[in-house]
């Protein structure tokens, strides 16, 4: 199962999913509130904590009756995977944490890379860009089941969502502190980090690696926070090698 992070939707896996599908059954999804999910099902109370997102993952697991699952979580979804595996360990054969961070904001003795003011700035950036999008976003948000091409034609549509939903997701993502959850991991875990990633710097990768006993850490020769786009072959290769072992 490939789980997208904050910002865009399952389209981010477009270069990786076909490679993995040659060998494995691949499950792709959008969290409620993202991509082409049913926005009417979104409730702030549920999605204001990462537990709500883990609920989406487990709902899908139950619906599809998934077992021996290798869960690949990008960015914030890495921690969603950790929480899901803690709630229903029987379903998970392994976790791939792609550029994870259990806490983005600096704390005493911990460097996540950001301050709370930085997160406010991000929220302002979201606001600024929604201003220009809101008019053309309407058809996408309202949903046009009879005319799907309306949605397709919109540029930047993979990263569009309702501004209020994005704000809640951003706050949930960047203000969360999931460091304690790392100790709950009992399944084989692969941590993939990028050589240069300002959102999940290498010292955070090392922190996660230390916090999960028996985990493996692989540094991809990639820059940025989306190695599945910037280095798809290496990313898919590492995931496939790990999944092969598990199976």
């Amino acid at each position: 199962m490939l789980a997208h992070g904050f910002g865009c939707d399952q389209n981010l896996w477009r270069l990786v999913a076909p490679v993995l599908a040659e060998e494995f059954r691949v499950v792709l999804f959008d969290y409620v509130g993202s991509g082409r999910s049913d926005v009417s099902a979104w409730r702030e109370e549920r999605y204001a904590t990462l537990d709500g997102y883990a609920g989406d993952v487990l709902d899908i697991c139950r619906d599809l009756d998934l077992r021996d699952l290798v869960f690949v979580g990008h960015s914030v979804s890495a921690m969603v995977g950790v929480m899901s595996a803690a709630r229903e360990p029987g379903r998970f054969a392994g976790l791939v944490l792609l550029v994870p961070s259990p806490r983005y904001i600096d704390d005493e003795g911990y460097r996540g890379g950001f301050s709370e003011q930085d997160i406010d700035e991000l929220l302002a950036s979201l606001e600024a860009n929604y201003l220009g999008w809101s008019a053309t976003m309407a058809p996408l948000i309202m949903g046009n089941p009879d005319r799907p091409e309306l949605g397709e034609e919109l540029t930047n549509s993979f990263c569009r969502t309702d501004p209020n939903i994005a704000r809640v997701f951003a706050r949930t993502t960047f203000l969360a502190d999931s460091r304690a959850d790392l100790a709950t991991v009992r399944v084989p875990t692969l941590i993939l980090e990028c050589a240069e990633d300002m959102i999940a710097p290498r010292e955070v990768g090392a922190y996660v690696h230390h916090a999960i006993p028996g985990s493996r850490l692989v540094t991809l020769a990639a820059t940025g926070h989306c190695p599945q786009l910037s280095a798809p072959e290496a990313t898919a290769g590492a995931i496939a090698a790990f999944a092969r072992e598990g199976v």
């Binding site: 992070g5 904050f6 910002g7 865009c8 389209n11 981010l12 477009r14 960015s75 950001f114 301050s115 003011q117 930085d118 997160i119 406010d120 700035e121 991000l122 929220l123 302002a124 950036s125 979201l126 606001e127 600024a128 860009n129 201003l131 220009g132 540029t155 930047n156 993979f158 990263c159 960047f174 240069e196 990633d197 300002m198 959102i199 820059t223 940025g224 926070h225 989306c226 786009l229 910037s230």
Partner: protein, 436 residues
């Protein structure tokens, strides 16, 4: 061409000056080219000037994201970069540059991926527009939208509060209204009883009241009245009337005496600007053979209707009585009638006969209304005549439906009380006499 004829003109000199290299360096917008990993390989003078940086500080040393504020970097990494990768281009994204001096410069960025001959993405070209004024305007728009949303939310809350307040008021009114009526009518041997109270508006109180109560010795007292006006004042007076009558009846059950006592209590009890009076019928039921003798007195109240066992209906005239509570003395006239098996006596308040009717769509009102467009007493008599003979339950059922039909036409509450003789009264009534 004119230019060819006048090569020494200033336009031509300007054209020569505007060569591509100069256009790139000094364009009215910033240009920057990066490798796919974001490292800056080329940047124009305009953008360097905005940033307050030297070329060799930037080229080969910084990434595009390094030029942004921290929040902008987060946005770049989570939205901008992935979109650019997937679409090959991205336009009009609002970001903020961080200048060397630490100032923020709002910009709009458009980027396009340039592929090499083999189709692989090679570099990213971006144009950067100064958007200071536009962002200021957009921020104003955002503020205006936030203010509008806040105002709408406040209005929603106020409306919700008002609705809640209204529901609360309606509950209080419903409780008060119930206090004017007996919780349930008593079970009177040999007598069939039915009553109905029609509330014109859940937001208001009428002053209608009725009761039926034992007097001992197999006799029963009843009354039905209507206090003038609406609202809490009228309801309070109706409550006063009901309790006064019930207390007085313990000592003297004579209908005319009761009206005199009530008149004194109401007349002397008038205080403040609000004065209320009432119309009322009080009566006593006494077993007589297989039926009942009904003795009643009216204080200015509409006459009761008698629906006959043999069909047809007529008013029992109550002329001579005056309004209660208006004058120091209120003489009343006592009427005696016989309630035979199959007869039904109907008492009502004027909410019914004063209801406004709509002739054109009028169905259930029998096409009747008086000159002023009111339902009127003739319509009521005709309606009752069609019903007769009927049991109290049947009469009240039909009248309740009629009231519902009049709907909005009812300005005032309406109370109905129907009394009849149960069919088996003649044979078993004696067995139910007091002392059973």
């Amino acid at each position: 061409m004119r230019a060819g004829d006048h090569r020494d003109e200033p336009e031509f000199a300007a054209l020569l000056e505007d060569n591509p290299a100069d256009l790139y360096e000094n364009a009215p917008c910033g240009y920057v080219s990066t490798l796919m990993d974001g490292r800056i390989v080329k940047i124009n003078r305009t953008l360097l000037t905005w940033l307050g940086r030297a070329r060799d500080e930037v080229v080969g040393r910084m990434r595009f994201a390094d030029l942004l504020t921290v929040g902008g970097k987060l946005y770049h990494e989570t939205h901008f970069a992935p979109l650019l990768r997937m679409q090959g281009e991205i336009g009009g994204i609002a970001l903020e540059l961080r200048t060397a001096a630490g100032a923020r410069l709002p910009v709009l960025v458009t980027s396009k991926v340039r592929a090499g001959a083999d189709g692989r993405p090679l570099l990213i070209r971006s144009t950067v527009f100064d958007a200071g004024d536009r962002r200021a305007y957009e921020i104003e728009l955002l503020r205006a939208r936030e203010a509008a949303e806040a105002a709408r939310a406040a209005a929603d809350r106020a409306r919700e509060d008002a609705q809640q307040e209204r529901r609360r008021l309606q509950e209080v009114l419903a409780t008060l209204r119930r206090s004017l009526l007996p919780p349930a009518l008593p079970d009177v041997p040999g007598l069939a009883v039915a009553a109905h109270y029609h509330t014109a508006s859940p937001d208001d109180l009428g002053g209608d009241f009725y009761d039926l109560y034992p007097l001992g010795d197999g006799r029963w007292g009843f009354f039905l009245g209507d206090v003038s006006g609406h609202g809490p004042g009228a309801a309070a007076v109706a409550s006063l009337a009901r309790y006064t009558l019930r207390a007085a009846a313990l000592h003297d059950s004579d209908p005319a005496s009761l009206l005199a006592i009530l008149n004194t209590a109401m007349y002397e009890g008038q205080a403040g600007e609000e004065t209320h009076y009432c119309t009322i019928i009080t009566g006593v039921l006494t077993r007589a053979g297989d039926g009942f003798a009904v003795t009643f007195a009216s204080g200015g109240h509409p006459p009761p209707v008698m629906l006959r066992a043999g069909g047809g209906a007529d008013y029992l005239p109550t002329t001579g009585g005056v309004l209660i509570g208006l004058l120091p003395e209120a003489p009343s006239v006592t009427v005696v009638a016989e309630l035979r098996p199959g007869d039904t006596l109907l008492l009502y308040t004027d909410g019914l006969i004063e209801a406004r009717t709509h002739e054109s769509t009028d169905g259930g009102t029998d096409g009747h209304s008086d000159d002023e467009g009111r339902y009127g007493d003739q319509a009521l008599l005709t309606f009752a005549g069609h019903l007769a003979p009927a049991t109290p339950g049947g009469v009240i059922g039909a009248m309740a439906a009629l009231l519902d039909e009049l709907g909005e036409g009812l300005d005032d509450d309406a109370a109905l009380l129907a009394l009849g003789v149960t069919p088996d009264a003649g044979t078993t009534g004696a067995g139910r006499r007091p002392g059973r």
